[in-house]
Structures are given as structure tokens and as C-alpha cells.
Amino acid sequence: MRTLISVIEIILPVFYFSTIWAYARAFFSGVKTAESLKTPLLFSTVVLHFLYIIFRTTEYDHPPITSVFEILSLIAFTIAVVYTFIEFKTKNTSTGYFILIIPFFFQIISSLFIKENSEVPALLRSNLLGFHVTSALLGYAAITISAVYGFLYLMLYHNIKSSQFGLIYNRLPNLEMLERMSFTATVFGFLLLTVAIVVGLVWMPKVFGNIPYTDPKLFGTIAIWLIYAVGLTAKKVARWQGKRIIVLSLFGFAIAMFSMTIINIFLSGFHKFF
């Protein structure tokens, strides 16, 4: 089994590369063969990645959340899964390159540096923690995808505004579709983040006794949650549309990235496990 896991670690980045190559050829060059191959390649990659996670969890007796490189692989998987869901839901396949390039790089780094820890704290074997981490990562993956669509929306918006009708204009889906894809991903991300926060709040007292209410990680997480809650409310009630809501979504994404990196690594006390 460990040999199989090692083999998959090598071929998984190759699968991701083949997939983004097909999406890139279809988008930038309009190659028909690439157009027909890209979705089957994506599906194969996601299935392979899923098997990899299952095999790792089974073989090492813990979910893959015990090191930065395991988390990177998990993030790559969640982004690929969320994108696959959005592609299936919206039937639009033209934006895959812009999304899938992120999991490709994450998985390459993971595959290069991942190694099994000889000792894994019992804390990290908790299923509740595993569930919390997975839902949080899925939530952040969805927010990342929402941000990519938001960025593509702004690119197309400005291209149309300034009468630039090149590749971006020709190949990207229409503005309404991009906004909808961004919004779908935001809703998905917000719901999953909510689940992650709730599970985290349930799990924390069991491990730490007292909840560290003044920890920057909690502030960061609540700030992100509030930004997205405000955005969704503004869209639904005040009917915010177009550029305004997209910019708010990108702001939320920036705070999320700050929380996941700077706060997590340098500022948080209780949210460090390895």
C-alpha cells in the first residue's frame, strides 16, 4: 500500500498537469481535441486524488492533516472537487485553467516534500478535528474559487468597458455567468465555513477546556464570516450586483488568505498543531 501511495504521489501532479494543459489548449488555442479531453481528464484526476486521500488515511490511521504538505494536498483536492461541482452545475467548462492551476501547484509542492510523521499527536487523530479541517478547507477552497471567478469577472468587465475584444472577451463566459459562478462558490464556501466554525466551537472545549476568546485566529475567522454574511445579505436584500458585490467578495478572500497564512503561522496561539 505504501508503494502505491508513493506511486500516486508521483503521478498525481502529472494528472493535474495534463488536465490544466487540456484546459489551457482549449481556452487559448481553441483546440477541439483538448476541448473534448479536458473534462474526462479532470474527472480522472479528482478520482485519483480521492483514492490517494483514502489510501493515506487508511494506511497511516489519520486524516491527512498532520503536516503543511498534507494540508496542501487536501486543499488541492478540495479546490478540484468544488470546481468540478461548479462545472457540472453551470455546464460551463471554459474557466478550468484559471482554477485548476492552483491545485496543480499545491499538489506538486505536496508531492515533493510530503513525508509521514513518525509520531502523530493523538489530538490530530480526532475525527471531529478531521471533520472540522475538511469542512474548513472545502469552505476556503470555495472562497478561493469565488475569488478567481471574481477576478475573471473584473477582467472581462474592464475589457468590455474599454472596448478590448481579444481572447478574454471571446473565450470567457458572459459577465452574468461569471457573477453567478462566483456567487455559487461563495454560498458554498460560506455554508461550509459555518459548519467548520460550529464544529470547531464544539470541539475546542473538549481539548482546551477554556476557549481562548482573545486569540487572533478567532477574530480573523469571525471577520471573514461577517464579511461574507454581509455580502450575501447585501446581494439578497439590497440587491447588490455586478462589480460592487465582486469587490466585496475579493476583499473577503484577501482577509481569508491573511487568516490562513499570517495569523495561523505567526499570531495564533491555540490553532497550531504541527
Partner: protein, 424 residues
């Protein structure tokens, strides 16, 4: 290849000449039947606004010497101005290649025109219904439709808007996606504005509002395009409900100001608004484009889209040429195959005739009980002699180039005098 083409098109004749030689669907059958009875074995007549072309296989006899272009011209009246210089005449491979060029859209007035293929299919169907096609024309046109289909499936020759009205509709779809819930306001009765509105309605536009300084003119347009009329003086009141504005009015000053649009955007909750200003001078204040979620485009921007799309279509031509080369080769191979089979058949018949004659002359020299054996023996000798040449001819048909196959067929026919015997 005994295939010919005679035609007149936008390359060789102005519209005033082309329209004189245009055949309607009602006129074509009579022309087809007359030409078939007198001059042609098989033919198809294609007639559109940009070309009239006759593809045909002539009869060997019956041509009275009158040039075909005159014969075709004389089917129509009032054609004194049409002369030989307006026509082009192609034969064999050139005629077939031209037909493929036309089907692929590379010979059209607007590069990549998708309509021509349907027009060719209609012309072919009409010819078939009037018994003007046979093996060769059927195969030729089926191959032609295959070329057209491949050109559209394997390249982007037909993609992107190449007219102002279509570019405007395409831009609307790029902003809104689904137009079924959208409302458009057409200001003015200019031709381009109307065409744009038509394109939008063909893209399933939800609601069309029309306004014009002269209300009766707007009401006329409603009867053509559908929708409802709005008073010209009150059109700014409708702006909060409208997603697309098409302005095509002769006016010395702007009819829509930045203030009008800002007010409308407040009332419509800042939902995206697309304004197409086709007027010259412009009908809409250019400052409108600074307003968030408002997309203002004038005729220059739309022409820019068209130029880019045309350049993209031109870049697809080499791919089309390769498709045409491939299909031409396949068609040539098939056509040459038509020669191989009858040649083999004729050769067999000729040898059998010789065998039969010679055996007939000398059979009485043999005992009766041996005569059947003589028949069998001589047949076997003839089969053995012919076996290798037949195999080589058939194999050559599949594996050699077209030129080699044609050369072999030609040599065999010449050596054994098959063409002389066929004529007698």
C-alpha cells in the same frame, strides 16, 4: 474528370448584373429540365444573391455550339448587359475545388458565411427531385456537404459576429447571458438599429420597446418586430426597466445625458445597463461610460469587434485548405475507381469474346465427350492470363496515387482498344 462549372459571382459581376441572372426556386426546375434534355447528363443549378453557378456533366452529343453562358443567360429576360466577361468557367479538379471552396465559406462575400451550405443543399435537393443528378453528382455533392460540415466543425471559420447588428447582439449576450428576462429599448428607426433589435429578438429577448419622434413610424416597426411603443418624450421614464438601449437617431445633440443614466441606475438598483449608440453624431453622452455597471459602445467599438473576428476567420483559411485538399484527394480516388471497374469488366468481356469465337471455330475437331473439358480449360487459361493484371489494377486503385491508377487504366484501355470497341 468530366465535371464542369459555369458561374457568375460577386468576384466577377456587380449586383446589378447578378440580380439579372438570379433564378428563383420556381424558375430553376424549368431551366434544369431544359438543360438536361438538350445538353447535360447531370447538373445542379445554385442561385443566391451573390452567385449563380451551374455544375454539370455534359452529354457527348447534342451541343449546338452556342456558348453555354449564352444558353444560361437566355433563360432570363432583360439580360442584354450580361456578357461573357461576367462568367467564369472551370473544369475537372478546378471545378470540384471551387465547389468545395464555396461550401466551406471561403469564397463568400462575407468570409465564413454559414448560409451558403443550406442554399447549396436546397439547390441539390431540387436537382434530385427533377432527376438531374446521378452517381457522379450525388457523390460530388455529398462530399461537398461533408467539406462544409468539416469546415464548420473543425475550424472557427464561421464564428464571431461580422456585421454591426450581430456584433451588438453578441456583446449583449456577453454581458447578460440569458436575454429572455431582459428588456431592450430601440430609439429611432434606422436600419442598423432595427437589425440589431431583430438579432436580439432572435436571441430570445424578453421584451422590446420602441420609440421614435414620429409615433406612427414606431407603430409600423412594432408590426414588424413585435413589442410595444413608448412615447419619445417619456423614454427616460422607461430607462429603469430597460437593460439594453439601442440608439439610432439623427440628432445634433445628445438625447441621453450622463444625468439621465445616473438617475436610471439609482432606480434600477445599479443593475448592468448596455447602451449601443449607433447614431452619427453620437446620441449618448460619452461620459456615461464612466458610470459603474454601464457599458456604452458606439459604432467604432462594434467595427473593432468585426475586424477582429474577420482577422480570426482569415487565420482559419489554411486549415480549410487542408480539409479541401484531403477531400479532393478522396473524391479523385473514388472517381478513378469508377474507371477501374468498367475497364476490368470490358477486358473480361473482350477476352471471353475471343475465347468463345476461337473455341467455336475449332471445337468440332474434338470428340463430343471432350468438348466440355475444352470449354473449361480455355476459360481457365483466360482467367489465369487476366488474373495478375486485374489484381494490379484493383490494388493500384487502393494503394497507388491517383495519377498512377489513371495511367494504368489509360494504358490498358489503349493497348486493348477498349474505348474504340465501346464507341462501336
Amino acid at each position: 474528370m468530366n465535371i464542369f462549372c459555369l458561374g457568375i459571382s460577386h468576384h466577377t459581376a456587380p449586383v446589378g448584373i447578378r440580380e439579372k441572372l438570379w433564378f428563383s426556386a420556381e424558375e430553376i426546375p424549368a431551366a434544369l429540365e431544359s438543360l438536361r434534355e438538350q445538353y447535360m447528363q447531370e447538373l445542379v443549378l445554385i442561385s443566391t444573391c451573390n452567385r449563380t453557378e451551374l455544375y454539370y456533366i455534359p452529354r457527348n452529343t447534342g451541343w449546338n455550339g452556342t456558348p453555354l453562358w449564352k444558353i444560361l443567360r437566355d433563360y432570363k429576360t432583360n439580360t442584354e448587359e450580361v456578357n461573357e466577361a461576367h462568367f467564369y468557367s472551370l473544369s475537372a479538379k478546378d471545378a470540384v475545388q471551387h465547389l468545395f471552396d464555396v461550401a466551406s465559406g471561403t469564397d463568400s462575400m462575407v468570409l465564413g458565411d454559414v448560409q451558403i451550405l443550406n442554399q447549396m443543399k436546397e439547390a441539390f435537393t431540387l436537382a434530385q427531385e427533377h432527376h438531374c443528378t446521378g452517381t457522379l453528382m450525388n457523390r460530388l455533392f455529398h462530399t461537398t456537404f461533408h467539406v462544409g460540415k468539416r469546415a464548420r466543425a473543425e475550424t472557427e471559420i464561421g464564428e464571431g459576429a461580422v456585421s454591426v447588428s450581430y456584433a451588438a447582439a453578441e456583446l449583449a449576450s456577453k454581458i447578460f447571458g440569458d436575454l429572455t428576462k431582459r428588456t431592450a429599448l430601440l430609439i429611432g428607426a434606422g436600419e442598423t438599429g432595427m437589425l440589431t433589435a431583430k438579432h436580439l429578438t432572435s436571441h430570445n429577448l424578453g421584451t422590446l420597446l420602441l420609440t421614435n419622434r414620429t409615433r406612427s413610424r414606431a407603430e409600423e416597426l412594432v408590426s414588424q418586430l413585435g413589442g410595444r411603443v413608448v412615447d419619445f418624450d417619456r423614454m427616460t421614464n422607461e430607462l429603469p426597466l430597460v437593460d439594453i438601449v439601442i440608439s439610432s437617431v439623427d440628432a445634433p445633440t445628445h438625447i441621453l445625458s450622463a444625468g439621465d443614466i445616473r438617475q436610471a441606475m439609482k432606480q434600477r438598483g445599479n443593475k448592468p445597463l448596455f447602451i449601443i449608440d449607433i447614431g452619427v453624431p453620437r446620441n449618448v453622452d460619452p461620459a456615461v461610460n464612466q458610470i459603474g455597471n454601464v457599458f456604452l459602445h458606439d459604432i467604432d467599438a462594434l467595427n473593432h469587434i468585426i475586424d477582429q473576428n474577420l482577422a480570426h476567420r482569415k487565420a482559419e483559411i489554411p486549415k480549410i485548405e487542408q480539409i479541401i485538399r484531403d477531400e479532393l484527394e478522396q473524391f479523385q480516388l473514388w472517381h478513378d475507381g469508377l474507371q477501374v471497374t468498367p475497364t476490368i469488366q470490358q477486358l473480361r468481356e473482350q477476352f471471353e469474346l475471343i475465347r468463345h469465337e476461337e473455341v467455336g471455330k475449332h471445337l468440332h475437331h474434338f470428340p463430343t465427350d471432350k468438348q466440355e473439358e475444352i470449354e473449361i480449360l480455355t476459360k481457365r487459361i483466360v482467367n489465369k492470363i487476366l488474373h495478375t493484371p486485374m489484381v494490379n489494377l484493383k490494388t493500384g486503385d487502393n494503394e497507388s496515387g491517383n495519377d498512377e491508377t489513371r495511367a494504368k487504366v489509360s494504358i490498358v484501355r489503349s493497348l486493348f482498344g477498349l474505348d474504340k470497341k465501346q464507341r462501336s
